[in-house]
Symmetry: C2
Subunit: 278 residues, 2 copies
């Protein structure tokens, strides 16, 4: 059996996967792109040696990235998805009838093409008439847009390499300027087990810009540390409050999962005060 040894410099455990087939292997302008098939997870997308999604359980990540904000916002119409070239976040956004336009900003066109070919179900929303694809840097896009976006979702690779520009205070400032007065923003912020310092850093940066900042988690089997965080901010409405109860088809997200996914206040306070010791 061929093995894939994941290359994640920030993880103290290395994850190893059985490889049934190598379906695709290329190098784009930005990164190494690989698709393998695994007996348990099905097709898996790997960028620069790090697992991004698997056919079997991608919905955990995509639903939990997208739906908390989309159910907290009173009426999300204009959405920006930055990254997420596989199309999974876009697919989830399109489940909401309120949505009129999705600006899908992916820097690497080859990821989109690879996903269409090897993850057709994940990429299924990309051709929707509401979706406008722009192959460019998300940081550039938000710099030049003002005040008409309801929800911005960053679905990037880890906070290293070229994705770094999506985690700066400057970027968060531009994101805020893009949003309407009721606008909301979410981004991944790594694992509470292995990257607590990064979580705190993202939260602190967001707090410099947004009046409302919150943190929720999901359990993701194929991301190092698994106890994955999402950092969310908002200009007016608390994000942990549901404004539109869930009526869409989901596998893991629900009203009760929404509420329970946000870290409790005492825990949050200790995290931000660096009193959590592990």
């Amino acid at each position: 059996m061929i093995k894939l040894f994941e290359k994640d410099p920030y993880a103290p455990i290395q994850y190893v996967y059985d490889v049934k087939d190598i379906l695709h292997h290329s190098k784009s302008r930005f990164q190494e792109i690989m698709v393998i098939s695994n007996p348990y997870f099905g097709n898996m997308l790997i960028l620069d040696g790090v697992v991004q999604i698997t056919e079997r359980d991608e919905f955990f990540y995509h639903e939990m990235l997208v739906h908390p904000l989309m159910h907290s916002h009173p009426s999300p119409e204009n959405i920006v998805v930055i990254g997420g070239g596989d199309g999974g976040a876009v697919r989830e956004v399109l489940k909401h009838e309120t949505v009129k336009r999705v600006y899908f900003i992916e820097i690497d066109e080859e990821v989109i093409e690879t996903s269409k070919k090897f993850f057709p179900e994940v990429a299924s929303g990309i051709g929707d008439s509401r979706v406008e694809i722009k192959c460019m840097d998300g940081a550039e896009f938000v710099k030049n847009r003002k005040g008409d976006i309801d929800v911005i979702i960053v679905d990037s690779t880890d906070i290293i390499g070229f994705a770094k520009s999506l985690f700066t205070v400057e970027f968060f400032k531009h994101v805020k300027d893009c949003l309407t007065d009721e606008g909301m923003f979410v981004t991944l912020s790594e694992s509470l087990h292995f990257h607590k310092e990064m979580v705190v850093e993202v939260q602190e940066s967001m707090r410099l810009i947004f009046p409302i900042v919150d943190l929720y988690t999901a359990n993701l089997a194929t991301y190092a540390g698994n106890w994955w965080t999402f950092s969310a901010s908002s200009k007016r409405h608390p994000i942990r409050e549901i404004r539109r109860p869930c009526k869409i088809q989901t596998k893991i997200y629900s009203d009760e999962i929404h509420v329970q996914s946000f870290v409790p206040p005492g825990f949050y306070k200790k995290l931000m005060n660096k009193e959590l010791k592990w």
Copy 2:
């Protein structure tokens, strides 16, 4: 660098750890016992190739195994800990002032001795005067005890091999007979990501015996699948209700973590009806 490849036949991801030193390697009557040191996790206890505890993060597992029940029971005095030869569960039990006696039932004396030597902080409660060590099969112990135990905690290895006898309906029946009318019982029940069927099986078996059965989870970085479950049952009191607010020193457990760790009712119903698809 030497590497430890974890041997977990039920996990679709293999975890690999850097090995700084091999501190101990022996074969007891029951299993292969190894202690390694790792740059991130510190000392790690490995039984039959599977990581049991690490110095750095053992408290996640031990606190979440022990404290929900101990704070839900109105007055836990007589406690049985089955397995957990490292002593971590016993250490947590002893934090409760109500406790008068802990029956510590570990089948493999060599695990206790290894822990005393390489995990002194974890094993720190083993010598306490309230602790009575019995090196025997936990299934045998509960068979011959009647009606005077407040809380029974099973801290076994995975539900394979010789630990299997701690997950049968017959065992659960004996556990129930051991308990007082207010008695409670908890056991690990594997990962929601990778072993959903096992979780359901344990829950179903418990439901044949106990009037109240519940399920809570914790995020454990070094157990395959990470999204770890604990199956708990009770003869009278709902376990998700806190009867004695937390006044002990903990790192992760708190009143709010207690409440949030229990799976929400809708999710639980879907799980038990096998409607959760992944």
